[in-house]
């Protein structure tokens, strides 16, 4: 394996990279001084919006009586879908690089026909949200209920009602991958394991609901939107396109964002309608989703049925894998990132950690009359991981192999890189075997197995589940830009030396609690050479930060971080040139360390950065002739050497299953993860842990329950089960660090690794516990009812 290059910022004296420093914005949040969108001061002119939402999964709007609602004191406007459509053009959630992907034009509010339960139909703007809700109650509306297609097979059956008749059928997208001789591998297999896996819908449940405050100024044609979003620049482009306002006139501000997880980067009709109302009414207009409407209007996630097979040789080598994934996405493909990425990644990630060369994957993406489904943390990964790892465990059981041993036999070796997977992914440098070895030690696997045997003697069912995974991170333009979406893969940074000697960093990546601002400050401080408390990071405002992709797909540290590193180096060179002119020496003989310009050779201080800044700003008359101090540096950075990066890791879950009640008790969870260069161990561990618990939620608790007719049955936080502290174990995190060689920083990304593998580990642990009883589950979440059914007890 090649040696990593010298990491200038990392090896420097007093580098903050790799150090656990607290986040500068945490203090504000623990004192209740957050600036979430709903916390922002509003003027008395501000109007508040409520929506009438469809109570049917599919219905024609047969009659409307808006007179009473419009007459209610305090109501400024009652707007129909047609009213809103007059100022907002529809969108279509397709990308050209998904050949054949189709969707229908989607309007902010339903016009004539609603296609999912929860689709907004009428918007009311009033002086308070309560009055707007009162007005909703006064709306007379007649529905003609239409046949709903909810089941994915029924939606594709001949003669099924077609949700968008002009599209011809309910199949949004189809994909087939074929690599190696799959049929021959299965024909020659010693052992074949197979099953149908079901992954039921769940939803992100950010604790802060979607929130937006739009203010249109007709005098200057300027639109200002304060929004709980992870992608301010993407939303700027969306508003410019669909409201015909020059993008330069649109400002999007994301203050504190109360959780996002991929849910707050999609375009939602109710948010677009809120902007439309501000334009129509020439007033500030605010919408904050309540929890009940969040359940039926936020994107849902996953929703897959996967028929999967794996072929193995007698020695336990995996020789082939074949999967058939059908995923239901609701009535439209989401905009602007589509609802095809989830399935696309699921079928391309299947078997990803392993060495086999024969793979066949097929994908069907299906329209249905349910809430929209699209990207959520670890897009497609938990599906691929759970299917693959469940089959690996079944193969191990069939062949009499241990769960660790079969993985050690099949994982890509650590000297195999660069490696191109059967689905076309290129892995630059992964570390599966190092991670497996470390996991085996950190969870004391042998002890867990002994505990399992001892427990069985007592009649207690305990299980251990292992799940290896890969994670896609740091996407370049191949992700969205090539498909025609106005979503940039680059980031931008502007860094200024202030007159006080402090450094201001304006950067396009955004903060939703990951610690973006902290790690950008660490990188800037290290690259330039000042103390951390001399750095201030500005994010989340299109007016005050350079253009960039922001935060999604675990890209912040890798792409945004590299951008800040390069900018810090540039500013350092500029300041060294200035210092050299003042000190009458050559810049290369100097360095900046801890806020001091020093001789590079012996570290002797020559001038402080603060003094340099003072001279540059206030006494340039004292500089040598012709010197123009350059105190601002700017850089852009986009990954050019690979379409996206990959990380890897492995998880273990230890569970106890109560075979009388079907309840699962989590006894422990371990993660070994390789995100490349670690910038802040404290923050990266918490990214992993938080991601794991979202995966545990999918494994055991979270499910959007629908009746066959398309009614959602548990759309309250009392009925939908979010993981609580009491049922979650301590989560032990360890790292292998294999920096990417394609950047100076070496960071790869970590935001989704926890979610990618956690559900698979829990699934395997429960099945491991139940294996002596002959029971096996392949549907998530693993509810007590499903477990008792698998045990034949209900």
């Amino acid at each position: 394996m090649p040696h990593p290059p010298a990491h200038a910022a990392i090896d420097r004296p007093n580098s903050y990279i790799g150090r656990s420093v607290p986040r500068p914005n945490a203090r504000r949040l623990v004192e209740g001084r957050g600036h979430f969108t709903d916390d922002l001061p509003t003027t008395p002119r501000t109007l508040h919006v409520a929506f009438l939402r469809s109570p049917y999964p599919h219905a024609r709007i047969a009659g409307l009586d808006l007179a009473a609602a419009r007459a209610l004191p305090g109501v400024a406007l009652v707007a129909t879908g047609a009213d809103i459509a007059a100022v907002c053009t529809p969108w279509v959630g397709v990308l050209t690089h998904f050949a054949g992907l189709k969707s229908a034009p989607q309007y902010p509010l339903a016009i004539d026909r609603a296609v999912w339960l929860g689709e907004p139909i009428i918007a009311v703007a009033a002086t308070t949200r309560a009055i707007a809700e009162d007005a909703i109650d006064l709306i007379g509306i007649d529905y003609e209920e239409l046949p709903a297609v909810t089941d994915i097979d029924a939606a594709l059956a001949p003669g099924a009602p077609v949700i968008h008749p002009h599209l011809g059928d309910n199949l949004a997208f189809r994909l087939r991958l074929d690599s190696g001789d799959v049929d021959a591998a299965f024909a020659a297999a010693h052992t074949v394991v197979e099953d149908d896996f079901h992954f039921n819908r769940h939803t992100p449940v950010t604790l802060e609901t979607r929130s937006i405050l739009a203010d249109y100024d007709p005098a200057t044609q300027r639109l200002t939107v304060c929004q709980s979003t992870q992608t301010p620049y993407q939303m700027q482009e969306v508003y410019a396109r669909h409201f015909a306002i020059p993008a330069a006139n649109v400002r999007v501000i994301a203050g504190d964002v109360g959780g996002s997880f991929g849910m707050k980067l999609h375009v939602y009709g109710d948010e677009m309608a809120t902007v439309a109302l501000s334009i129509m009414l020439r007033r500030p207009v605010k919408f904050v989703a309540d929890r009940l409407e969040s359940f039926v209007s936020d994107i849902h996630a996953r929703a897959h049925r996967v028929r999967a097979r794996m072929a193995l040789a007698a020695d336990g080598s995996i020789t082939a894998m074949a999967v058939d994934d059908t995923t239901g996405i609701g009535p439209y493909s989401a905009y602007p990132r589509t609802s095809a990425v989830e399935g696309n990644q699921a079928v391309r990630l299947m078997g990803g950690p392993y060495r086999h060369r024969a793979y066949r994957g097929s994908l069907q993406v299906v329209f249905q009359n349910k809430a929209m489904m699209s990207q959520y943390r670890a897009v497609g990964h938990p599906i691929a991981c759970a299917v693959t790892e469940a089959l690996v465990d079944r193969a191990a059981a069939a062949l009499g192999l241990d769960a660790i041993d079969i993985r050690r036999r099949n994982l890509l070796t650590d000297d195999a890189y660069p490696y191109t997977s059967p689905t076309g992914y290129v892995f630059e440098r992964l570390s599966h075997h190092q991670c497996l070895d470390l996991l085996e030690r950190s969870c004391d696997y042998a002890a867990l197995r002994r505990d399992q045997q001892a427990a069985r003697q007592r009649g207690v069912c305990r299980g251990i589940g292992i799940a290896a995974f890969i994670e896609i991170t740091s996407p370049g333009p191949a992700f969205y830009g090539v498909g025609g979406a106005p979503i940039t893969a680059q980031d931008g940074c502007v860094m200024q030396l202030d007159p006080s000697g402090a450094v201001r960093v304006q950067v396009s990546v955004t903060e939703q609690g990951q610690g973006t601002e902290a790690i950008m400050a660490q990188i800037a401080a290290s690259a330039f050479g000042v103390a951390l408390d001399r750095v201030r990071v500005v994010t989340g405002d299109t007016e005050t930060t350079p253009y960039g992709g922001a935060t999604w797909a675990s890209r912040g540290a890798a792409i945004g971080g590299e951008t800040v590193l390069l900018t810090g180096h540039a500013l350092r060179q500029q300041c060294l040139a200035l210092a050299a002119a003042i000190l009458q020496t050559q810049p290369q003989t100097l360095d900046i360390v801890d806020g001091r310009v020093v001789d590079a050779a012996d570290g002797q201080e020559r001038i402080s950065v603060a003094e340099l800044a003072r001279i540059a700003y206030f006494r340039p008359d004292t500089l040598p002739p012709g010197i123009q101090p350059q105190l601002v540096a700017a850089r852009n950075h986009v990954p050019r050497d690979q379409p996206f990066a990959f990380t890897n890791g492995i998880q273990a879950s230890h569970v106890e299953v109560d075979t009388e009640t079907g309840f699962v008790r989590l006894l422990g969870h371990w993660v070994v993860e390789d995100c490349g260069r670690i910038i802040n161990p404290l923050l990266v561990d918490e990214q992993i842990r938080g991601g794991v618990v979202q995966g545990i939620g999918a494994a055991l608790f979270e499910e959007c329950l629908y009746s066959p007719e398309g009614q959602i049955l548990n759309a309250t936080l009392a009925d939908y089960l979010v993981p609580m502290a009491g049922e979650i174990p301590d989560i032990h995190v360890a790292h292998v660090e294999t920096p990417t060689l394609l950047t100076q920083l070496g960071a790869k990304g970590a935001g989704e690794a926890g979610t990618a593998g956690a559900a698979a580990a829990v699934l395997n642990a429960v099945n491991d516990a139940l294996r002596p009883l002959g029971a096996q589950l392949s549907e998530l979440p693993l509810t007590p009812q499903r477990i008792l059914a698998a045990l034949g007890r209900v």
């Binding site: 623990v30 209740g32 604790l207 938080g690 009491g726 301590d730």
Partner: protein, 165 residues
């Protein structure tokens, strides 16, 4: 239906205030909308998530489940007030939460801190299991809870005069 208002007098963070409110206004809306105390967050408005947890007459309560008119005459304390009053239990928890990165987005944090303050006032040295049990009425979607449990444990040790491990 929305024009009738009722006078409510309560003591919030040490200051007495009288507000005219519609009977349906809940306490969280009064705190946030009228008094600008936006540290009290609304995550569900049906009493599940715990983001709106405040102290009413010395005990924690869900401000979304209490009508403003019910709090007439009550003493209400929010994260802002306890911070300004330098409440020692809250102070220890805040220090530990920041040092341990026991918050990410920070939306649940004020409510989580209120619950933790009450726990540590009642139980100076709770076990990890007792901490997990007590904060199970406060949802956090970001951290996975482990760091929060660590931070509460650390704060308890500090308050008891022990240096944490």
């Amino acid at each position: 239906m929305s024009s009738e208002t009722v006078a409510v007098t309560l003591r919030v963070n040490g200051e007495t205030t009288t507000q005219m409110v519609a009977p349906r206004t809940h306490l969280a809306d009064l705190l946030r909308g009228r008094l600008g105390l936006t540290g009290t967050h609304l995550g569900c408005e049906h009493g599940v998530c715990g983001a709106c947890t405040v102290f009413i007459d010395g005990a924690t309560a869900r401000a979304c489940l209490v009508l403003a008119v019910q709090s007439d005459g009550a003493v209400v304390e929010t994260v802002e007030g306890l911070t300004d009053a330098a409440d020692p239990t809250l102070r220890a928890l805040q220090e530990a939460f920041v040092a341990r990165n026991a918050l990410q987005c920070g939306f649940c944090t004020p409510g989580m801190l209120a619950t933790a303050v009450e726990l540590l006032r009642e139980t100076p040295a709770p076990s990890r299991a007792a901490i997990r049990e007590r904060i199970s009425g406060n949802y956090c979607r970001c951290t996975g809870y482990h760091a929060i449990v660590d931070a509460i444990e650390t704060a308890a040790l500090r308050l008891a005069g022990h240096e944490p491990r």
